[in-house]
Amino acid sequence: MTEQEIKDSNLVEEDAEKENSHKDVPPRLRDNLYSKIDIPVSTMNWVIGIIVVAIVVFLVYGIWKANF
């Protein structure tokens, strides 16, 4: 066996190992739940701001309606 052949066979073994280790992992769990989200942080700031305002509006409305 030449040196090149030994290197090639090692590479093939490594690839097979990689494939096997891949099989142990649930495919859906390989990706992070958020990894597909690709929006700027500033947009997210706006989203959070709007949700906060909505919560405060509903809270104030609910409390006002129940107590006054």
Binding site: P26, L29, Y34, I48, A66
Partner: protein, 349 residues
């Protein structure tokens, strides 16, 4: 001179950014603070120790449930079946705890009170079986936890309905429990006149045990490794299947215990028991900083999240806010918690 001005403008800008960052990251806590201030302003009676103890007592069973769900969220999964599994476990354990003097009890053959360990054990077994079903689906069948637990949720609900419907009198609530059971669940320690309910102690004990599992055992370390990066954990030699099943097993035990305690707390179990408990548990975890991205979460965070959610629930009820409006507010709070989590992830990216 102009250099000093630019420096000052730069500093002001940095300060503004820091304040903005702080407000965004702690928006949820700021809202909670605002809510508590409004509640106290309207009704100062809210600020009493007995109210706080009530809130903690109500949060206890959901907190134990949340401790189980938190493990799955750290694994970058979730459990939508937790509430219905709790309902099923609660129905079975409650039926074994009915007073022997109660004529319409589910098992007229039981003429002596069973030792409490029996229904507790049965409840845990049922919880573990359902959770292992979820774990098998995720770890072996490589399905997403959302889908598997959605299926299990329906299976558990069906089982609960069949079980409750199998009573001689038809589908009636399982109630009238024996005194021993009620004392163990609803009793309290009397410390110099201050009553500390057992439920809070059970919750604290469960939290300590889960903290030890998460932080001092190989299973816990592997859980964080798998949640952070499943591939890296697999390549490092972590047995993915075994560890996922382990986390689901722990969750099953916690569900069983929570169900047993919840049956005693509410004192009447029907087909609706456990409805939306999973959402409360998940939102408690998210509010407490357990990231849906996986690999991030702490037990104190879960406890704080569950208590915060309970404070919100309690104060909304305390103020007499319309229950339908409460659903909308709670839904928005969950979306806010997840949005803050996503923002943190994006900022790190």
């Amino acid at each position: 001179m102009s250099n000093i001005k630019t420096e000052q403008i730069g500093k002001n800008q940095i300060n503004k950014e820091k304040i903005g960052e702080f407000l965004l990251n702690y928006a949820l806590y700021i809202i909670l603070g605002f809510m508590i201030i409004v509640v106290i302003a309207i009704n100062p009676k809210f600020l009493s120790i007995s109210n706080f103890v009530k809130i903690l007592t109500q949060a206890s069973t959901r907190g134990i449930l949340a401790l189980g769900v938190a493990g799955m969220i750290v694994l970058a999964g979730t459990d939508l079946s937790a509430g219905r599994i709790l309902g099923c476990c609660a129905a079975v354990s409650a039926s074994m705890m009915q007073a022997v003097t109660y004529a319409s009890r589910m098992y007229p053959g039981i003429t002596k009170d069973l030792p409490l360990i029996v229904p507790l054990f049965v409840s845990i077994i049922i919880g573990v079986l359902f959770c292992l079903l979820n774990g098998f689906g995720v770890a072996k069948l490589k399905l997403h936890a959302f889908i598997v637990s959605l299926g299990t949720q329906l299976i558990a609900f069906g089982c609960t309905c069949i079980y409750i419907d199998s009573q001689e009198g038809g589908a009636q609530a399982i109630s009238t429990f024996n005194e021993k059971f009620l004392n163990v669940v609803n009793g309290s320690f009397n410390i110099f006149g201050f009553k500390l309910p057992y439920l809070i102690i059970y919750f604290a004990l469960a939290a300590v045990v889960v903290w030890v599992i998460w932080n001092k055992t190989t299973l816990g370390k592997n859980m964080f490794a798998m949640g952070g990066n499943m591939e890296a954990a697999a390549v490092s030699g972590v047995n993915i299947t075994k560890n996922i099943m382990g986390i689901y097993l722990v969750a099953g035990v916690l569900y069983g215990i929570a169900a047993f305690l919840e049956a005693g707390r509410i004192q009447s179990v029907n087909t609706g028991t456990g409805l939306n408990y999973d959402l409360d548990a998940i939102s408690g975890c998210v509010i407490g900083g357990v990231s849906f991205a996986g690999g991030v979460g702490t037990i104190p965070g879960v406890i704080i999240g569950v208590v915060i959610l309970q404070v919100i629930n309690y104060s909304l009820n305390f103020l007499g806010v319309n229950p339908y409006l409460q659903y909308i507010i709670k839904g928005l709070i969950i979306i806010l918690a997840v949005s803050i989590d996503v923002r943190k992830y994006l900022a790190k990216k």
